[in-house]
Symmetry: C2
Subunit: 186 residues, 2 copies
Amino acid sequence: MNYPNGIKREFKNIKTYGNRGMNLEQDLNDTNTYYLNSDIAVIHKKPTPITVNKVDFKSRNDAVIKEAHFIIPSTTDYNGVYKGKYIDFEAKETKSLTSFPLSNIHKHQIEHLKKIYKCDGIGFIIVRFVKLNKTYLLFINDLISFIDNNTRVSIPLSYFEEKAYIIKEGFNPRLDYLKIIDNIIN
Amino acid sequence: MNYPNGIKREFKNIKTYGNRGMNLEQDLNDTNTYYLNSDIAVIHKKPTPITVNKVDFKSRNDAVIKEAHFIIPSTTDYNGVYKGKYIDFEAKETKSLTSFPLSNIHKHQIEHLKKIYKCDGIGFIIVRFVKLNKTYLLFINDLISFIDNNTRVSIPLSYFEEKAYIIKEGFNPRLDYLKIIDNIIN
């Protein structure tokens, strides 16, 4: 397959997006904007990686990409700095009531998070169980531990309840996930 | 203008690139690959940011971007983790023999580096004077200090000689810039 999970849905919804409720990505972007404007942290979502095949240089002021392809990301979507520490995570929603399918995260991304862990970075995944209205933060060591000790292709909700941290929703910031990071820094 | 400096050159050279000598970007990519494979650091170049206007979903296995535009990056090109610390930098070449034109770095990127500095991240620029065959690392505080105290639109070579650090070229890693970071961590 030539494009990552979610890309199709994401770009097909460009025009119909407006009427949807807030989703995890929007909540995280709002939260990161709050962190940025408050000088708390600098955490950005990375651009979607593509390979460009054709570019049309119409004028001195405009270049139009005429052919490009999505490529599978080799890293996670979000990274940045908080109190000098390196922060790195992937965020996913699931409609399941009972488990989070690991197919939502590319193998490359898990390898990337393992590398981050080895270099003493703070890596995690944020998973929202949409229908349960619950958002969890699971640190990379607990994610790796699950993968290494299980043959299951999904992480049961009970594992999140046991090992992960609930991110409470608020007004501003929407999802104060750095509060959980404070516990492991201190 | 709708696309960042360098984009036009970069993509126009797609086909003729092969015969050029090593450039700064290639040197840094090789160095970062060495760091990655040696579990020393995880530092990646970010994808070029674009806005996608039209996507053609030809088949289940392929999505082709039919129209997209480059956008001015709001962050630097490189970031990652070294010994738990957040690393963030921009890299530029200049053909000048005497100074580095500040127009090579977008205002957004300097604002970004200032934010990184406030959050205790390690931010810098790497500048190669191609014709002098010298590559410097200048930390963000010295870059800001220059900008705040000068009306000049370029940083003279003498400022690099005084404030920046020379990055020595080697075989592998090509440009061991993390050696310089070690000095400020310790």
